[in-house]
């Protein structure tokens, strides 16, 4: 009878250990997924391309300090960038970085345009 109770106790402990491992693996998968999502977002081709576009526009802004006009045009260029994003994403991977960077790139170009105008 006590042997039966020991077996039961052991089985229950084993089951609890299994549940704990399951929780740990699930939590690890969740954290890994979140980290991966963040890493992927920063490593996406567009993000890297946009980084260079950003630095280029930053350099341009530093050399020609017309920040008031550029800030206004960034807001107004949202519709233009939307259409750019749409048209460029319809193309293949070659234009992917172009597509992904289009929001930033277009807003950058928007600032240049407004500076020119």
């Amino acid at each position: 009878m006590s042997r039966h109770a020991d077996d039961t106790r052991r089985a229950v402990a084993e089951r609890d250990r299994g549940h704990a491992r399951l929780r740990a693996v699930t939590a690890a998968a969740g954290v890994t997924s979140l980290v991966a999502a963040g890493a992927v977002a920063f490593a996406l081709p567009g993000a890297q391309h946009a980084a260079s576009a950003n630095s280029a526009s930053a350099t341009a802004a530093a050399s020609a300090p017309a920040s008031g006009g550029s800030a206004a045009s960034t807001g107004s260029s949202s519709s233009a960038s939307k259409s750019t994003a749409k048209s460029s994403t319809t193309k293949s991977s070659g234009s992917l970085s172009k597509a992904a960077s289009s929001p930033t790139a277009s807003s950058g170009s928007g600032s240049v345009t407004s500076g020119g105008s």
Partner: protein, 198 residues
Amino acid sequence: MTGITSTTALWYASRATGIVCLVLLTAVLVLGILVNQQGRLPGLPRFAVTGLHRNLSLLAVGFLAVHVATAIADPYVTIGLAAVVVPLASPYRSLWIGLGAVSLDLMLVLIATSLARAHIGRRAWRGLHWLAYACWPVALAHSIGSSGDLRAGPLLALTAACTLAVAGAVTWRVVRAVRATPRARRVAVVLSAQAGAR
């Protein structure tokens, strides 16, 4: 410094969560096959494989919700609310976003029937669960078609790895099903063994 700004954050979040979601769905499908074949994972009891399959499904649904929400809220593309579940309703890349809608619809059926499994019966649930095999390729097609992210670089390798994992798991299941002794013969063997023991 990256190109992710407050205005483009949704665009990047949508793409990133979509990619993670594809990986999670791949894991869920492979685990589902493992559960079906009564396989085990190292360090985990058998019931934990089923639990992991379920938990990762819920995790994938969470990422899918973020993926869909950010895609709708993103100001750079116009994806209406209806396009989330109605195929070809999106003005932006209607075919590929439509495939995403089909995949989401299939996933909703899978989730709903799994939650209502006790009510609909095991046979109906099992029959509907076969839709998972349609859901994954449709989701993959949506991922590849709607964005060029998965068509080049390391993400192409990731896509290939996901495809290989699913292809391998499906092949394993088919091979085991072909090699398995038919149920009727198994029952006959067990019955004759029992009769011999008496």
